[in-house]
Amino acid sequence: MARIVVVTSGKGGVGKTTTSAAFGAGLALKGYRTVVVDFDIGLRNLDLIMGCERRVVYDFINVIHGEAKLNQALIKTKQLDNLYILPASQTRDKDSLTEEGVMLVLEELKKSFDYIICDSPAGIERGAHFAMYFADEAIIVTNPEVSSVRDSDRILGILASKSMRAERNMDPVQEHLLIARYSPKRVIDGDMLKFDDVQELLDVPFLGAIPESDSVLLASNRGVPVILDNKTDAAEAYMDAVSRFLGEEVPHRFLQHHRKGFFGRLFGS
């Protein structure tokens, strides 16, 4: 049975698209047929992050309007045979998204994919609403910073009251907390919220923390999901998070700061 997973945060710039691309690729690496759908109508970026921008012919809105078949709009990624994206439209206004249209596209995707990742735009308007409305599970991407945490809490409130599962009194959307741009050193210095404080504030099961890393920028420059960039901390942290998402027990590896050298020994714990 296909699962619909929304990647959301409320606040912009916290790492939703990076996380959508990473989770899409991670689930595909685990052998699941996966599609990542860009709900950011008017400001599409997922195609660029995943290196498919030159192959976009038709988009999500074309499919909703019946101007293209779904399989004409789906783009297979170069890196993985079982990973596809459905790009957002760049020109139409966001009112083009309709509940019925989104539902029909998702129903059709469910026939051929195991996981449908919905990359939500920032904010709480139409695109964000439809990205989360049909979700079975939600990955809440949060930065350890006050405005991001507060916005995540608002999004949790919306998931609990405005999603289809909430409206129809079904089992609630399964929530997962992913902390991005985490810096264990700044936590030790007392300048950054600790992961368990964020988890306690939001009260959502913790999937993992992605360390602040140069490799995220480098991967987006190249148009390769960061998780495929082997051996970097960010890639391994994402892969661990994907494994936990699938129910595997994986120890957390990137939550502590390791001091080195003379000062490390002098002041070390």
């Binding site: 006050v146 809490d153 007392g190 919220l193 504030l201």
Partner: protein, 83 residues
């Protein structure tokens, strides 16, 4: 106590402040979220009435709705400043 903790305790840790502020704002948001739909509007109306007759500012007025068993208790707490 580690040497570094000694220096650190001299200035207040900003992450602790962030957590405390978030605890307050998130608890506030959740109490409103779980209340009835009319609650935010009713609260606005109550504030307007109280402000009309007293010098109380928004900060002096606390309106909360709590659930106890089968009852919901509306608590209105106003600190009226001197004239």
């Amino acid at each position: 106590m580690r040497l570094i903790d000694y220096f650190r305790s001299s200035k207040r840790n900003s992450a602790v402040q962030a957590k405390e502020r978030l605890q307050v704002i998130i608890a506030h948001g959740r109490s409103e979220r779980n209340g009835p739909d009319y609650f935010p509007r009713m609260k606005q109306d109550l504030l307007a009435v109280i402000k009309k007759y007293t010098h109380a500012e928004t900060d002096d007025i606390k309106v909360t709705l709590e659930k106890e068993g089968n009852y919901e208790i509306l608590e209105l707490n106003v600190t009226i400043p001197p004239e």
